[in-house]
Symmetry: C2
Subunit: 149 residues, 2 copies
């Protein structure tokens, strides 16, 4: 990860990080759905017209997976990686073919210092693999980024 690798000492509540953008391609959406979420409204434009989505929509798990890609490949290159323990997830509206998506206001909201305290791998590279718990603020939006996002 080169010079930009981040360690726990570099994290703080309110720290912003960046996100790239990702274009939701119909072929990728359909390929994912065929493997993991084979329902007509994720697979076929015509069948999707008469569904609750009224048109082809990405599986929510494809959208979530793309969000993870944007997080991992974005501006928060943590030395030990990013591992999820869990969280809440919501899909307020469908993602469509051709949508450009990115993470909105990616920002660390909560950092648990009791967990983080003992891990200072940056200063002691011989210490065991370290981790902390933080909650990023992640929204996912399907338009071009605006200034400040």
């Amino acid at each position: 990860m080169g010079d930009h690798t981040l360690y726990l000492d570099d994290l703080y509540v309110g720290r912003r990080f960046t996100s790239g953008t990702y274009r939701m391609e119909e072929a990728d959406m359909v390929r994912f759905a065929a493997e993991f979420d084979p329902q007509p409204f994720h697979l076929d434009r015509r069948a999707a017209e008469s569904s609750v989505f009224q048109g082809l929509a990405a599986s929510g798990w494809y959208t979530a997976s793309v969000a993870m890609r944007l997080l991992v490949t974005g501006g928060l290159p943590l030395a030990e990686g990013i591992v999820g323990l869990g969280g809440e997830i919501a899909w307020p509206k469908p993602t469509r073919p051709g949508d450009m998506v990115h993470l909105v206001r990616p920002e660390i909201e909560i950092l648990l210092p009791a967990v983080a305290r003992d891990f200072r791998r940056k200063r002691n590279p011989q210490s065991p693999p370290s981790f902390s718990v933080f909650l990023p603020w992640l929204d996912f939006i399907n338009r071009e980024p605006r200034e400040g996002e």
Copy 2:
């Protein structure tokens, strides 16, 4: 979906449904990670040894996607499909290559009758696409099913 298609009238709290099993193949886990979660502990056995996982582990989003596959291809073939509005997700422990996974105790926990009330597509096929809100109880476990699961 043939004779087994289910409608809202068929749903009730406590209704059980079935789940198949799925073998987590290393090649599939790595392929998924390369596209959506490209971190060393999901991509490479050797690199994963020294990670927090102490061995190759599936991306949590791969595990979630496989769970969706088991739900969609299992014993709850809803006429209008299964669409997620959101929920909570947790990954209490890693999924490893070769693990056999299935849904444990798949059961409808909550059904919102106020939403469901007006939709009886089974009796009135001309009604618009219908939906209800229900919360399935879904645990995901990586061993062979036991009797009663």
